[in-house]
Assembly symmetry: C2
Homo-oligomer: 259 residues x 2
DNA sequence: GCATTTATGCCACTCAGTGGCACATGCCTG
DNA sequence: CAGGCATGTGCCACTGAGTGGCATAAATGC
């Protein structure tokens, strides 16, 4: 009798249900099965865990956007999803972490794509660029775009979130360098170029992200007819990569161009 | 009588004294007075504040290095310096902040140098590079080198410190872009190049920093005869900047170079 | 069905960080 | 030089993030 009272199904379990695979068709759609996307055939327990995780992410993005990052306590957030705070910290490392999940997913995908990339003797930057574009194509569906937009907007308002965002970027470049080192025997110690290349790529993508975010913010229509997000993002990223050589030679003169 | 008892000079005030201008000759030495280095002629109150600030920084770096970042509570740190926790948070924004002070000082100096830089119509990257080199030359005395070394070592062990470190870098690039925009009318919206250039420069300097740190760590001698730190750092930074063009064209092939 | 594993809830706790208020001290003016 | 003003500091109470331990529920495997 005790357990029936104590461990009842929460009344506000609706959020979990709406975030479940039944109503979000894109969430569990897999491409080719080669990459661990969202195994719809996974054991029940794991799917349940993913649902609560996703519910926490969505609730966090919504609440933080509405009332500000600092205006929402973890207790409130956990109440909203009907989950204990302890469970929250088994899914995320910090309050910032939950709101950065979309970008973190992306960077993970990038590393996976880099892992399976095939070198053709061409420039390293192009190899990495294509891996990143593949990652965009794989994860950047409209749901991801929506969440990432909220996440980016929050990050630029919240210093601690921005810091964590940059931390992800950096850990990704570190991991990317290790992959390149393992697979292609690159020298990361004495040669600055691999690291610089990785940082350049990240810089280009961050530029693409911010530009994409402000453009999407201007387009008031939430989900209406609009060029797909992934295409927008990919285009901006390509432009930034193309601009890399010209960045080195760009000149600057005093404000009044005298002589 | 109450105040004499309550506001006594703390017995362990020694740290404050050793950090005072009397025993640290380089700390208050000014170059040319054009930049707000460490005004030795400042009002007494401000000097006092600077002393406690510096004492907190040194104590933090020492304690964190000895017992780990997480192994030292702020209460312990403040007891060490005989300062209330409230005062700590008037000087620093967070626990991480105090340990990142050396690098933050550097970035501030960089922005100042960028502010007074004179464009000659040459590449933007060279302008920024020279500003950064000037900043190194200005702030990177041996004391700074020592503190920064501790700071870097802590940062790579402590994720939250690393995140804050990156946050500083990014805020610096933001500020640098604004300066460039104001002074040279650069377009930061439609043109990706200024931002990419700034990120490249930061990437080069971060590469220089890590290389410099591991090299300094290998050289066991703490303060003995050794090429001056600023020169080491400047050289590594120059190398990284020189390597930027080659980074764009660097190629990569499968591990076994078949055909 | 029963044992094992895994996820969760709950409780108590530490500690970073904040606001308010009183007080001390350097600074400045009459 | 006396007394007001501004500023820095200490103290106290408080919120909220994050952690560890333990009991329990539910999924899994037999």
């Amino acid at each position: 009798m005790a357990h029936a009272c104590k461990w009842r199904l929460p009344p506000r379990y609706t959020r979990l249900v709406t975030a479940s695979p039944s109503t979000s068709p894109a969430a569990d759609r897999r491409r080719d099965g080669s990459l661990k996307q969202a195994p719809a055939d996974a054991p029940l327990r794991e799917r349940k865990k993913r649902r609560t995780r996703q519910a926490l992410i969505d609730a966090a993005l919504e609440q933080f956007t509405q009332r500000g990052f600092g205006g929402v306590t973890l207790d409130e957030l956990c109440d909203e999803v009907e989950v204990s705070k302890r469970t929250f910290f088994r899914n995320f490392t910090s309050k910032e972490d939950v709101a950065m999940a979309p970008l973190q997913d992306f960077w993970t995908a990038f590393l996976e794509e880099l892992q399976i990339s095939r070198p053709d003797g061409g420039p390293l930057l192009e190899l990495a660029r294509d891996a990143l574009l593949s990652a965009v194509d794989r994860v950047a569906d409209e749901e991801w775009a929506h969440r990432t937009l909220l996440s980016l907007r929050l990050a630029e308002q919240t210093p601690s979130m921005h810091a964590h965002s940059l931390h992800f970027c950096d850990r990704t470049t570190q991991a990317a360098l290790e992959i390149l080192h393992r697979r292609f025997n690159l020298d990361n110690r004495g040669d600055p170029r691999p690291r610089l290349a990785a940082d350049m790529l990240v810089a280009a993508f961050r530029y693409a992200l911010t530009g994409w975010a402000v453009q999407a913010a201007r387009t008031s229509e939430p989900t209406s007819a609009r060029p797909p997000a992934k295409q927008e993002l990919a285009t901006r990223f390509r432009e930034a990569v193309v601009a890399l050589p010209a960045t080195l030679t760009m000149t600057v003169a005093p404000r009044r161009t005298n002589s």
